[in-house]
């Protein structure tokens, strides 16, 4: 039962992290191609070069979180079926 609670917690954390990373990935993507709009909306904080750096560095965390998100769901279902 403790295992399932732990898995549930991991699933929720991964779920929210994945949402944050996905949104950031999209915003930084727009920060590259639509830099004039994004720079204006972020008051000049997200510049094109910063968007490039973030976008490049977010790819690996995004893929890892996506895999964890899928695995956590599968594991949780198996555990629930077993109990």
């Amino acid at each position: 039962m403790k295992n399932i609670a732990g898995l549930d917690f991991i699933k929720i954390v991964v779920h929210w992290l994945l949402i944050i990373v996905t949104v950031l990935y999209l915003v930084t993507g727009f920060g590259i191609t639509e830099f004039r709009i994004v720079e204006t909306f972020t008051f000049g904080l997200l510049t094109k070069s910063l968007a490039f750096r973030l976008h490049d560095n977010l790819l690996i965390p995004f893929v890892i979180l996506l895999i964890l998100h899928i695995l956590a769901n599968i594991l949780l279902r198996r555990c629930k079926v077993a109990t």
Partner: protein, 225 residues
């Protein structure tokens, strides 16, 4: 019966008149050739070319509309004879060159275009480079700037294009002139050029270069510093 005959007579007179008029109009138009809209070429000596519409608009202030009548290209800085050129003077006073070159944008897209223009080197030679001149700084209508080493400009026959795919540069593509910075990332391919400045400031950084982009901008390296 009389009416029918009268109608036939009228028709037989009027119809040939109409036909003759139409025909003569056609002949007069054929004698005076009309100018057709130039069409871009999509293949050159076996190389497939991209279209002028394949570019993505990513300029800092949007497309610039340059009035060719009042346009002046300034050649300033460390040169013996600073000069202002008109659009016609740039084109008529220099040898023209053509070359197929691919522009690679940092955003991930690329276009292969037949560029036609004048060599920047020819313009610099004409104005007399001073020995201290190390960097060529290009200024554009929208305030965009970029720089390249003098040696790179001279050694690589760098073109300042006024035509692409055999048509005059469209406004969105940088009319009147776009630099064809071969083997450099797209942000060195400055459009709407208004000034070429010779400088000894080797630390000069252009618009994107001062915002974290590489100043060398070599295609085989990263564009981020």
């Amino acid at each position: 019966m009389k009416k029918v005959i009268a109608n036939i007579i009228v028709l037989s007179v009027v119809l040939p008149l109409i036909l003759t008029t139409i025909n003569s109009c056609g002949v007069s138009e054929m004698n005076e050739p009309s100018e057709l809209e130039p069409v871009e070429i999509r293949e050159y000596e076996g190389t497939k070319l991209s279209s002028v519409d394949d570019f993505r608009e990513n300029s800092i202030e949007g497309p610039q509309y340059v009035d060719v009548e009042s346009y002046q290209l300034k050649l300033t800085g460390l040169i013996e004879n600073p000069r202002n050129y008109t659009y016609e003077e740039v084109i008529n006073e220099h040898q023209h060159y053509k070359k197929v070159i691919t522009l690679d944008c940092v955003e991930g897209w690329s276009v292969t275009i037949l560029w036609e223009g004048v060599l920047v080197r020819d313009m610099l030679d004409k104005s007399g480079l001073l020995p201290d001149a190390m960097v060529v700084i290009f200024h554009a209508q929208d305030g965009y700037t970029t720089s390249l080493p003098v040696d790179y400009i001279i050694d690589n026959d760098i073109i300042m294009a006024y035509k692409m795919n055999d048509i005059t540069l469209p406004t969105e593509r940088g009319f009147p002139f776009q630099l064809v910075a071969e083997s450099k990332w797209g942000y060195k391919w400055i459009r709407w050029i208004t000034e070429i400045e010779l400088s000894d400031d080797i630390n000069y950084r252009g618009y994107w270069e001062s915002r974290g982009y590489s100043n060398t901008a070599d295609l085989d390296g990263s564009f981020l510093e």
